[in-house]
């Protein structure tokens, strides 16, 4: 592994310096033996320019010219040479000077991606030698997707990684779940690491403030701050072998993000501009006005009652007696009907000579949203990077800096949002006298006057220092500083609220700073046929966060509601200061025997301030092994089509400390409006639990990787088994205890098992015509294995032993009672009952399987690709309160078929069948196939570039979510996103977008 790193370092160092290097090339001298050499591609036999030829004995390097030629001038003797070139395998050879004939060196292209660098925790290896379960996507796959949040680009791309765009708004949250839901309630965020420094994955406006619940954008994804164009690769670590080195924070998987590194070469400028527009990806099929009214009328007729126009009457039905009977509104189109525009501009200058390289890139992105109202999301990034490698590679210094500013201004019709698209089609937003109609308890038109302004600033600084006294020994220190500050202001003027309400505003700030120091030692021991590499390190992290929330009301001047001073009343104010400290030591040993047998062991000891004294430290570790059996001579001889075969297995433990600070402490604190009788009032902060401790997840992984026909077909299959014990959860409590939950370890074992298959092929691989295809599939299962004293726990009714923890429970529909014509639901005994049992198992939210497939074609200068994602799953229907006919709200159009069928009850205006939304009738197959991405690009030809004096010019078009195939007869807005409003989270459906862009490199 160390060799690989060295190779990379050298390759990066020596690349693309024909001009400067040739100056160093000493003039030919007759005293020495001179030899002319040439470097060519093994595959195309074409000469290679810019290859670095290093004399390992003297560390002297020279470079090939345009013809791939070089001149070697050395005294007699034996020399070892290394030849490097980006995208080619490094070649080592030994020569004896003087040489009699010209030297021809053939380099093997690295399109065989088994030899590509594979980033792992605290190091690098190759895909070939890797012992863990890891998936990576590269800049190329990210660039093809016009996404705001880089996590969206992972959708469907990796087996075992379930990415759900729960919110299609710019800046919205993206759910990511690696190998299933291991924890019932604690954070399921993976650990994010950017260039070696952990990046906080929790939302800056999470539940600690009431703001996200009052904001249609919901919780904000912290990864929005990253500019996707600055990212070189995203690597997801899944099994114990890969994640145990991150110990307590690896239980939910680890996402390693590496930024694009500065490369040496002539200073170049890269410009990229794109322009796009988006619309709602998917509209639900709803009843039109005529159909809606027919069902409502039938409801009254079936009951034998008459709709009334008197608002105090039990039979009040303004939709039938007062509102427009001819013209309806398509509310989905009204609320989500905007065409959003986006602009993204990118400029990057990079270059450097010799051992000093730099890059500087700036990005500006602006987009509005499909939601009605004035919405604008803007993001600016400045990313700078500097690298220095000393002569002889003793020092390696890299410093990078990301500054990011985001602002998101939105209309905020929050109370109408969740039910907006199911308003009665003839619901008038305004009454005849021009006033807003608040009958439904909300009014989107009025509420568009409410606004949200959010600003997020982000600073990420990393410094990596490495000192290498010997080629095999390195001391490194990794330091990072991150600061995020988030600021949101929600304004609710009186006009945006129900008539007579008092205007109010909410202000929230949250800022956190984190410092990381991580010293490491690397040592590589080379033996005869094997090598052992050692890694030892320690981590110290300090994070402090500080938040404040104020709600003020009664502003006499609504134009200055951002000014807290103009409020007559302060309703509520809270603040919190939360320090967090984290310290660990870790180590890893990797033994590589003949590049065929690899053993890997890691150990980590972690301490976290989130636990009570006595429970703060935990130990985690793993063992992994890989056997590259295709190196066996027997196989090589008999199975020539098998170019690569590897078996790997790993077992280990990881943990999770994504819990609140101070949870072990019994304290009192202010409830917000902390005044009673003009005196400060305090209340117990929580039910404390001094005894909670580390949770552990045991991960087992077995896999086979196969390459056929020079690895043009690459297949891998993983079987994983993750077993979570003692999960840290906010243990749900009945409210009779005084609180709704407290921090505790769940005495349960949850098993996540599954198969992950992936297939990559290069079907056509010619100079001009290329075609490659990828496919991946994950079949996950989740099971509550055991639970101590389950019957007496708070979870006895929520879960079932042996069943998936994402269980959906509810009433069981039994058909229509022939005597009464009413719906019948089962009692606990399964027979029809007046008091139906609410806790039948109706399904699970864990998908049966999910995956993705894609194809990339290129012919000459044109490249086209598409990628599709599919999920097999069920969902509960959304937005309904009763069986149709009752209540003034619209319904999905498939309900007409139900009403027509004798298996379902007839509509009734007064029956209030409130079991329906929570019953088996409201569970739908929402499996879908979504064309996530289509992209087309054209590289302008050389001739034109020469005229323009440009290095490259590319025109491209990209589409996102263009097509979705699913059964639209389901009571959901979109099969991918969740319900519109679910507690704190507000989720807009995903959008389909189309983008046109131009990329120019000078």
């Amino acid at each position: 592994m160390k060799k690989t790193i060295q190779t990379i370092v050298l390759a990066a160092l020596c690349l693309n310096f024909p001009a400067s290097a040739q100056q160093k090339n000493p003039p030919p001298s007759s005293k020495h033996g001179q030899v002319k050499g040439k470097v060519i591609s093994l595959k195309t036999r074409e000469p290679l320019e810019g290859a670095a030829i290093q004399n390992i004995n003297t560390a002297l390097t020279l470079f090939t010219d345009k013809q791939g030629e070089f001149l070697l001038d050395l005294p007699s003797g034996r020399y070892r040479l290394a030849v490097f070139l980006e995208n080619y395998q490094t070649e080592y050879l030994e020569i004896r000077m003087p040489l009699k004939e010209p030297l021809v060196i053939e380099l093997e292209p690295k399109d065989n991606n088994l030899n590509e660098v594979q980033i792992i925790g605290y190091g690098e290896t190759t895909k070939r030698l890797n012992t863990g379960s890891i998936s990576t996507i590269t800049a190329k796959q990210i660039e093809n997707q016009p996404v705001t949040n880089v996590l969206s680009a992972l959708s469907g791309q990796m087996p075992g990684v379930f990415v759900q765009t729960t919110n299609g708004l710019p800046g919205g949250n993206i759910n990511i779940q690696i190998r299933g839901k291991g924890s019932i309630a604690a954070g399921t965020n993976p650990l994010y690491i950017i260039d070696g420094v952990p990046y906080d994955g929790s939302s800056p406006n999470d539940a600690s403030s009431p703001l996200p619940g009052n904001y249609i954008g919901g919780t904000v994804s912290p990864l929005n701050s990253l500019n996707p164009a600055d990212i070189e690769s995203i690597t997801v670590l899944k099994d114990a072998d890969a994640t145990s080195i991150f110990g307590s924070r690896g239980a939910n998987g680890v996402v390693l993000i590496s930024t694009k590194k500065a490369k040496a070469g002539a200073t170049q400028l890269e410009l990229n501009v794109q322009q796009g527009f988006s619309q709602i990806a998917q509209k639900p099929k709803l009843l039109n006005l005529e159909q809606y009214l027919a069902i409502r009328r039938a409801g009254f007729a079936n009951d034998g009652t008459v709709p009334s126009a008197d608002p105090t009457s039990v039979y009040y039905a303004p939709d039938l007696t007062l509102w427009n009977q001819q013209q309806g509104t398509d509310w989905t189109g009204y609320v989500f009907g905007n065409t959003a525009h986006s602009t993204d501009a990118q400029a990057k200058v990079s270059g450097g000579t010799g051992n000093n390289t730099f890059s500087l890139s700036g990005n500006y992105r602006r987009e509005n949203s499909i939601l009605k109202g004035n919405n604008l999301f803007e993001r600016g990034n400045l990313f700078s990077q500097f690298r220095h490698i000393s002569q002889g590679q003793k020092w390696n210094i890299s410093l990078s800096n990301q500054i990011n500013h985001q602002s998101n201004t939105m209309a905020n019709p929050v109370s109408s949002f969740g039910s907006s698209y199911l308003l009665a089609p003839n619901y008038p937003l305004q009454l005849p006298d021009g006033s807003f109609n608040w009958y439904a308890g909300s009014n989107i038109l009025a509420e568009l006057n409410a606004t949200s302004k959010m600003k997020t600033d982000n600073l990420v600084t990393n410094l990596n220092l490495a000192y290498r006294p010997l080629p095999s020994l390195a001391f490194k220190i990794n330091t990072g500083y991150t600061k995020t500050s988030y600021n949101q202001c929600l304004i609710f003027p009186a006009i945006a609220l129900a008539p007579g309400s008092i205007n109010y505003a909410q202000y929230g700030t949250n800022s956190f700073e984190s410092v990381l120091i991580e010293p490491q030692v690397d040592y590589l021991l080379k033996l005869r046929a094997s090598s052992i590499s050692f890694l030892a390190g320690a981590t110290y992290q300090y994070r402090s966060s500080q938040n404040q929330f104020i709600q003020a009301s009664n502003f006499s001047l609504e134009s200055v509601m951002e000014d807290l001073g103009s409020a007559a009343t302060i309703d509520s104010r809270t603040s919190a200061f939360l320090p967090y400290k984290y310290a660990s030591v870790f180590g890893r040993v990797t033994y590589n025997l003949q590049e065929s047998y690899i053993f890997n062991a890691t150990l980590r000891r972690d301490g976290s301030s989130r636990f009570g004294p006595g429970n703060r430290y935990g130990n985690f570790g793993s063992v992994g092994a890989a056997w590259i059996f295709s190196n066996l001579a027997l196989l090589k001889a008999n199975l020539p089509f098998l170019s690569y075969g590897k078996l790997r297995a790993s077992y280990g433990t990881t943990g999770n400390d994504q819990i609140g600070d101070y949870q072990y402490l019994s304290t009192y604190s202010s409830p917000g409006t902390n005044i009673y009788q003009d005196v400060a009032a305090i209340r117990p902060s929580r039910i404390n639990n001094a005894n909670f401790h580390w949770e552990t997840t045991q991960k087992t992984d077995l896999a086979i990787e196969l390459g056929f026909l020079q690895d043009r077909i690459y297949f891998s299959a993983d079987y994983y088994l993750n077993q979570s014990n003692d999960q840290l959860v906010l243990y749900t409590l009945p409210q009779i205890t005084g609180f709704m939950s407290y921090q505790a370890n769940l005495p349960a074992v949850i098993k996540n098992r599954g198969w992950e298959l992936s297939l990559n092929t290069r079907i056509l691989d010619q100079q001009k015509l290329r075609w490659s295809a990828t496919f991946n599939l994950t079949v996950p299962t989740n099971k509550l294995q055991s639970f101590e004293d389950f019957e007496n726990s708070s979870y006895a009714e929520q879960y079932q032993l042996g069943y998936d923890i994402s269980r959906i429970s509810g009433y069981k529909y039994l058909g229509v009672d022939p005597n009464t014509g009413k719906a019948q639901y089962a009692g606990k005994d399964g027979k029809a009952s007046d008091n139906p049992y609410y806790n039948f198992t109706l399904g699970k939210l864990t998908p049966d399987y999910y995956g993705g497939f894609g194809n990339t074609f290129s012919y000459g200068n044109v490249e086209a690709s598409f990628f599709a994602q599919f999920v097999k799953q069920v969902s509960r229907g959304q937005g309904l309160y009763t069986y149709p006919g009752t209540g003034i709200s619209n319904n999905y159009s498939f309900i007409q078929d139900r009403i027509a069928s004798p298996y379902y009850p007839k509509p009734s205006a007064g029956a209030y069948d409130v079991y329906y939304p929570n019953s088996s009738l409201n569970i739908f197959n929402t499996s879908y196939l979504r064309l996530k991405n289509v992209s087309l690009s054209y590289h302008f030809p050389e001739r034109l570039l020469k005229k323009l004096k440009a290095q490259s010019l590319k025109l491209y078009a990209q589409g996102q979510n263009l097509l979705t195939i699913w059964n639209r007869n389901a009571a959901v807005l979109d099969p991918e996103s969740g319900v519109l409003t679910d507690g704190l989270s507000h989720n807009s459906p995903p959008v389909k977008s189309f983008v046109l862009g131009l990329q120019l490199t000078l």
């Binding site: 126009a309 608002p311 105090t312 007062l322 005849p432 006033s435 608040w438 009958y439 439904a440 308890g441 010997l470 008539p499 007579g500 309400s501 008092i502 010293p519 030692v521 050692f534 320690a538 309703d571 919190a576 320090p579 310290a583 030591v585 180590g587 000891r605 301490g607 004294p613 430290y617 019994s666 009192y668 604190s669 202010s670 409830p671 009673y676 009788q677 005196v679 400060a680 009032a681 305090i682 209340r683 117990p684 039910i687 749900t732 409590l733 009945p734 409210q735 009779i736 205890t737 005084g738 709704m740 407290y742 007496n792 708070s794 979870y795 009714e797 008091n835 209540g887 003034i888 007064g910």
Partner: protein, 457 residues
Amino acid sequence: MKPLFKYLHLSLTALCILSSSCNKLVEIPGSKNQIETPAVFADSSVATSALLGIYYTMAGTPYTSTKYLALYADEYTYTNASDPLMEFNRSHLLVNNSLNDPLWGSLYSVIYQCNALMEGVDQSVKLSAGTKVQLKAEAKFLRAYANFYLVNLYDHIPLILTTEVGKNARAVQSPAQAVFDQVIKDLQEAKKELGTGYKGSGKVRANSWAASALLARVYVYHGRWADAEQEATGVINSNLYSPLPPLQDVFLAGSKEAILQLWTPNGFLIDAPELIPASSEVLPNYVLLDGLQQTFESQDGRKSTWIAANTVTVNGSSQVYSYPSKYKNRSAAGASPEYIMALRLSEQYLIRAEAAAQQKKIDAAVADLNVIRTRAGGIAMLDNGMSKEACLAAVAKERRLELFGEWGHRFLDLKRTGRLDTILGTLKPTWKNTAEAFPIPQNEIIYNSNLIQNHGY
């Protein structure tokens, strides 16, 4: 090679020592916005703040305006389309009604805080004996107050007397009588231990008269007429709360007849903007039902002072809608702030009248009723010569009029006198006799399978 191993070994050892033996690395300072519990009970002013936290919670419970209970009974109707509120309007609650949940939960939160305070005080070595008695007595009063409403609404509730989470999470329901016994015990102790004066400004912390007044109510609910009469007499004869103030002053902060009020930070009730329409032309959200309005005699001063009306024109035709107007501030009020009226003297007269009537002391009962009617103004005094039944009916009617929209009096009166079926059954098509008890919130049963749902849900 050997020195290298040494390096490696040394640095690893050093790191291990650094991290594992040095706990300070992961030690964090105390919180800046939280006070550790022992410190709370080490100082009387901080401990008092913890007590005020309970009052604060009580004032924030959905009971304080009791609009839900007025909908559930035959007092108000709701004119918008909110599903959970319409369930109250129909007197047909679902087990997962989203408003029933906080109704239950906030009162148990009060109880938890009371228990936590009593435990904290008991463990304290720094608080003075006098402070300890005072704090605990108020906590007992508040616990009784919360339990009283819980048991009356839900019938079968667990009696929670400690903060032990393991035990409470699995608590079973107690017989209603056991809850009432505890309520009476708490109130009797509170009455004994509290003084007759009010702590701090206003009448927003319970004194012994508040305990007496609530005790009188508990007794009358249980047919302990003599006891009820005795407690109510005590309160009335204290002369602290009489004479009854004019109608328009009854709900103001510091009202003469207030025995206990709950403090509001800005002089108005949280629900006021919802109950009081913004302008005189709009349809009120909560409209007084005709039946209640018609029960008032036409000149009853309470009708003109405590009820207001809007004239709404829809499609050319005008309609008058009445709404409750006992509380009049709908935003911050500096000049005449209103506090939430928890216990007031009029109810004590009505309790005493009922107790007297039940003991066939008709004259005394009529005299008490006439105190209320005199203050109301515009209506005739009742005559002495009526039967017990007629007198009880007069008490019931007077209670309905005097206490409408307050703390669910109407609903609880109908319930304790067995009239729910007759009255609500005729008014609401979805009424079932099992609706006399609210459903235990479904999540409570899910999280504590020892709890048993009330009959009919």
